[in-house]
Symmetry: C2
């Protein structure tokens, strides 16, 4: 169950001392080949962290040898110093691994706007390289080291015909459309081209991480990297491969939703009956980000009026007099009016499914996964930097 | 300090029994002339309550005699029954006042999706008409009767040269760009035309209620009505009048911000250095709606990285490497990097001013008023309908 399950990968973790908690805070994933194929998908935020800029450049040619991670510091909003620090990290790791610096990626997560503690970070590189191993525990150690406010380790394995995908991810808050605040690393021993990797990764993230919207906030550091070693010698079809990448991303996204900051409810919002899938997605997002709706979910309160008030502001075609809403498959609003028994629907369980029909008869359809807005969310996020 | 301060107006309140709390829940404002000039501004939500539809039609000709209010029930999402109930309310009141039904407006606020309890509501009309008076206490009673989760009565008086504007408002949550979830009634004894009233009201609301954004949620019932009796006999210039209407709206908007659900901080966000005022407004709203930023404000946490992460997603021109942020006039981020002492800025006071320079040198500028995201907000909004 880890990034070291596919053949051709080794991983390691260490405690460099970046996190005040004394927990593991650096990880390394190395592709031992024979292929070094790679693809990446990044945040759409215009304020991007230094490691995102570096990794974007590194992966542009479809090749990566290694990815080094640190948690506890995002290295975002640190100007030229941040760029230099990310580069020096890659440079020193490349020397230790004897690989080109242009094939090393760097990912950081944590507080924005604090300079990286470079001496302790650089000192962490040698123990990482020395500690590299291909056991499941090595992959899991890396998955632990990238956690920030995550409560649980997030890993996945998807099996193909003679090849495998492994994955690890972190992300528990600041989750929004341009990926969650997340770092994800997928490894595979399938033999694929950079174009196959890129196409599969973009298709998968658009329907998994991109539709996970915990709080409408979008990180400066979001990075999903896919590394392919070709060590299985098997070349799957694009369709097989894309399906497996999607399954891996879907599994990690579900784990992130379940572990979202302060979550007490996992809420899935499906919108139908509008003109296009894009409009349905916009409407589902609008509801999923509405704080009044999210508070009602926290209170297990079937206050469907808030769904109508929220969706009425969405940029989607709708018939305002013929909107219907279902909570856990029970009609609570039909033709924009309350349905019998609507106030008695039981929302006490941890999973709530909301379905909204915008009433135009159009084919548009989309689902967004979100959570409730709880006391714990406020607690966690009011004391993060202090 | 009330809507009965300007000459030519009377008001009343009663307890019909719509609110379970047994508090006042109906109010009436009557314009006794000699003019019956009126203007209205309404929610931009596409899901609109029945009373909004009725009042939009009633005010379209620039004339209103009376506005009847109820709290405790929004009469939204009640279909044809809701429309009929709003009309019957206006019809019966018109008969009691002996005025045309087309000159009666209806405003409702409260829970969405519950049919109006018509028998008790209609029984409340006669006591309202019988209770009409022009004392300050009559206006204040009306202002009390329109409250929902409001903690304090919201009234204002602005004096012109020989004429006056009075106002009352309610609104404490579900506040967003298309006005807050608010009902506002402004009265004036100035002698003005419907066009003057309309122009002044639109100009005033666009820079006051429209820039008050508590939680990004927009009500189905937002209505601001301006009634002008002409009883002073004084006709101010458009500029004088518009300025006074703006001052009245600004005062009520500030009272709403201060009384917002669960507020512990009043946060003002000003964006400069982008191409247009519209872009600056979009950027200020994006930050003002960001839950991570709002939680940091609740925690008095000068976590400026969240400002950059939020504003980086805004639909506004910016130079991502040259954004600056100031908390209470102290630089916390310069050229997208942390400023010295940024983590030590004291945000423990109840008022926090945030200024963001997007670094393009453009002339765009806008301010949005919002609040923090507190435990109390979650508490209030998780148990509203149950």
């Amino acid at each position: 169950m880890s990034i070291t399950t596919p053949a051709g990968f080794s991983a390691a973790a260490t405690t460099a001392g970046i996190k005040a908690s004394g927990k593991k805070d650096m990880a390394l994933v190395v592709n031992n080949g024979p292929d070094y194929t790679a693809a990446g998908v990044f945040t759409r935020n215009r304020v991007v962290a230094a490691p995102v800029k570096l990794t974007r450049r590194a992966v542009a040619d479809g090749q990566l040898r290694a990815v080094v991670y640190n948690s506890g510091n995002a290295n975002a909003c640190n100007g030229a110093q941040g760029d230099a620090d990310a580069y020096h990290t890659a440079e020193q790791l490349a020397a230790l691994l004897d690989v080109p610096v242009s094939e090393v990626a760097v990912c950081s997560t944590g507080l924005i706007g604090e300079p990286l503690p470079m001496p302790i970070l650089l000192e962490g590189l040698a123990p990482l390289v020395d500690g590299l191993g291909s056991q499941p525990t090595d992959g899991t150690a890396a998955a632990e080291a990238i956690m920030t406010t995550d409560m649980v380790v997030k890993e996945t394995v998807i099996h193909g015909e003679g090849w495998t995908i492994g994955g690890m991810g972190k992300g528990a808050g600041m989750m929004a459309p341009s990926l969650a605040t997340m770092l994800v690393c997928l490894t595979t021993d399938a033999s694929i081209t950079p174009d196959m990797a890129d196409a599969a990764l973009r298709a998968a993230t658009s329907v998994t991480f991109d539709t996970l919207d915990i709080d409408g906030s979008t990180s400066t550091n979001d990075t999903v990297v896919l590394l392919a070693s070709g060590a299985s010698g098997v070349m799957p079809s694009q369709e097989e491969f894309a399906q497996a990448v999607r399954a891996a991303c879907d599994d990690l996204a579900s784990q992130m939703q379940a572990d979202a900051e302060g979550v007490t409810k996992r809420v899935s919002i499906t919108v139908v009956g509008t003109s296009t899938d894009e409009q349905a997605l916009a409407a589902a997002r609008t509801v999923g980000r509405d704080n009044l709706f999210k508070c009602a979910m926290f209170g297990s309160d079937p206050n469907w009026g808030r769904v109508l008030a929220a969706v009425g502001m969405a940029d989607a075609d709708m018939d305002p007099e013929h909107i219907s809403v279902y909570f856990n498959d029970q009609a609570v609003c039909l033709d924009s009016c309350g349905a019998p028994g609507a106030r008695d629907v039981d929302l006490s369980g941890a999973d709530i499914e909301v379905r909204i029909d915008l009433g135009t008869g159009g084919p548009g359809r989309a689902t967004v996964k979100t959570t409730d807005l709880s006391h714990a969310y406020v607690e966690i996020n009011s004391e993060y930097s202090t």
